[in-house]
């Protein structure tokens, strides 16, 4: 395998509404930030890959216009996944592994504000047996949270503590949508209170990947991707044990998470209860700094929030605040699909 690193990361300030911005206008600043950080121009990039969803935009082929923000002329080698940008990063990593590219630009974006994202996400569910019931994303997460409480894995006070810790950490994150003291609030769907749920908002993120010496030339301390893998579970909630995440565990094993301890973990846990599931699957103890960015509880631009976890973990390595970090992204109801990557700074095990 070629050594590939995240050499630049940028994200928007995440906000509840961005009515004044098209997707292109939202994406362009972060694209320019990562290009400027590396001194690369669009035509220097070997491969471009993005992640987004037509269902958020409310129109078919929404990603075609976002391509305008990339400056795809002369034509570029480019692809798109209808998934969180973390999987776009995975596709780009594979492309670099083939040797056909040495650099890649990855971006993703999501505007949840135009619709009711709780309702929109119900359209992901089995269209014959579950979708027609419109069980929304908070209700499904609440089922999972209650299962955790019933199993003795957590309680409401512990969930509230996760929310408090995340929003306190987000005070140092200028891009966060909500930060600082946030009241636990009323139940949205019992046992989840407003504080247990992610903010709804719009945002975008971009990353540049580079291989080997190219990465070293572009970034003083590249965040090397030592392993990356993703796995999916059955769709039906009725055949899954919601208190566990075997796909996260499997992806982590394949990514090499358990070979050495990590010091940091950026987990894509939109609900407090999902952090409990992920910590268990990944074997994270109190020695690991979890979600120093505030995580998805501080900003959850759907389709970009997973890529942002990879970017936040990489940025800590860039800044010398971490030597070995885990980054995680999720997709689907109740953590159905999960991606895990291990990122390291150069001197970590020299």
């Amino acid at each position: 395998m070629r050594d590939v690193a995240i050499v630049a990361f940028a994200q928007t300030d995440h906000r509840r509404r961005t009515d004044e911005l098209s997707e292109v206008e939202m994406v362009m600043p972060v694209l320019h930030q990562v290009l400027d950080a590396t001194g690369l121009r669009a035509r220097d990039i070997g491969f471009t890959c993005s992640g987004s969803s037509d269902y958020l935009a409310g129109r078919a082929f929404s990603f075609t216009m976002a391509l305008d923000g990339v400056g795809a002329h002369p034509p570029i080698s480019e692809s798109h996944v209808e998934m969180d940008g973390a999987w776009a990063l995975y596709e780009a990593w594979v492309k670099i592994q083939t040797g056909e590219a040495d650099t890649a630009l990855v971006y993703s974006y999501g505007k949840s504000s135009p619709g009711e994202v709780r309702d929109v996400l119900t359209r992901q569910l089995d269209p014959y047996y579950v979708g027609p019931l419109w069980p929304d994303s908070v209700a499904l997460a609440a089922l999972q949270a209650q299962a955790l409480i019933d199993a003795g894995d957590t309680d409401e006070a512990a969930l509230a503590a996760i929310a408090t810790r995340s929003r306190a950490a987000a005070a140092d994150n200028p891009h966060a949508q909500i930060a600082g003291p946030v009241p636990a609030g009323e139940y949205v769907v019992q046992p989840l209170r407003t504080g247990d749920c992610p903010p709804i908002g719009d945002g975008a993120a971009a990353v540049i990947l580079a291989a080997g010496d190219t990465a070293r030339a572009l970034c003083p301390r590249p965040a090397w991707i030592r392993g990356i893998d993703h796995r999916i579970e059955p769709h039906s909630l009725g055949v899954r044990r919601l208190t566990e995440s075997p796909s996260t565990r499997l992806a982590a094993e394949h990514a090499g998470v358990f070979e050495r301890p990590v010091d940091t973990a950026e987990l894509h846990a939109p609900f407090t209860s999902q952090e409990v599931v992920l910590r268990k699957a990944l074997g994270l103890d109190g020695s690991v700094t979890v979600n120093p960015s505030g995580g998805a509880l501080a900003a959850n631009p759907v389709m970009a929030a997973g890529l942002i976890r990879l970017g936040e973990a990489a940025a800590r390595i860039h800044r010398g605040e971490s030597d070995r970090a885990l980054a995680h992204a999720t997709s689907g109801p109740c953590l159905q699909q999960n991606l895990v990557a291990v990122l390291e700074g150069e001197s970590a095990h020299a």
Binding site: D54, F61, A72, I76, T98, P127, E233
Partner: protein, 388 residues
Amino acid sequence: MPKEPVAVVGIGQTKHVSARRDVSIAGLVREAAVRALEDAGLTWADIDAVVIGKAPDFFEGLMMPELYLADALGAVGKPMLRVHTAGSVGGSTALVAANLVSARVHRTVLTLAFEKQSESNAMWGLSLPIPFQQPLLAGAGGFFAPHVRAYMRRTGAPETVGSLVAYKDRRNALKNPYAHIHDPDITLEKVQSAPMLWDPIRYSETCPSSDGACAMILTDRAGADRSPHPPAWVHGGAMRSEPTLFAGKDFVSPQAGKDCAADVYRQAGIGDPRREIDAVEMYVPFSWYEPMWLENLGFADEGEGWKLTESGVTELDGDLPVNPSGGVLSTNPIGASGMIRFAEAALQVRGQAGEHQVTGARKALGHAYGGGAQFFSMWLVGAEPPTR
């Protein structure tokens, strides 16, 4: 380290029809996947990862359907990727899967593309609401008709060329048991007397809306050695994209298409595509795109593509058969149409195309495009393993 050679060892399609009311979406994709596994002599346990593609989720009203389809495609516990690059997606999906093998991330990958268009109305699904687009275009045909007209003006091609393409493709489809449109009574007169839909495109020169799926099993050299049937080898593959609209855009022959073909030919060591390629499965949703793409892909000089069509070169028994399967004009489950092109090219070099087999086909090109003639994906497959 050089890339791992990629072989196509399994191909499965559903019988494409306007509405598969007898199966769910999961049932449809599983049918194609099982056929591909049977062709490869493999079971679900042999598959390391699944790469699925389709066009806009609105076509079925199902957001990110890979989540719901994980079980039906045997992906539980495995990596599953979902590609979406507009109309080129079927081709792009196959290339993403091929990259997993050539990069040695996985040994054997199932790739599949589908559309179940009977779940919605594709034409209006593609017609973006105000304020994204003026309310005049009414589907893909409305978008592409002016570019066809531009081609006719630019080249002086006779008005009948489009009907020749449709007449050929619909006759080829009669030899393909999986093709959607089977019209044994087809005549050139019938094609030419069909109502005008989007001037200069007649109803008979447009693609249908289909329910269908196409699956392929891609594997490495060791996997190919175990294949019960001759594999098709990937000699080159590429994707290129350009914006929908920009000053200087050539809708008749987009630069991205030219660049994509050039990249594939470079990888495959093709110097003269017209002589070295034995069969082409190109994405022709409206008849006139055959002569247009013949030029864009380097099979004819600029302005000369229509002459190949008119002189019968692209017929099944011609010198350069184009769309021996009947093409998109005969079968169009949109998200799968690109993968069907790629799979049909592979069938040709495997010698498994049945009645629509091109005699002695050793190298074949699969081509797909999408969006506003802006996304291109292509692969070149051969009967022999690549030597470079």
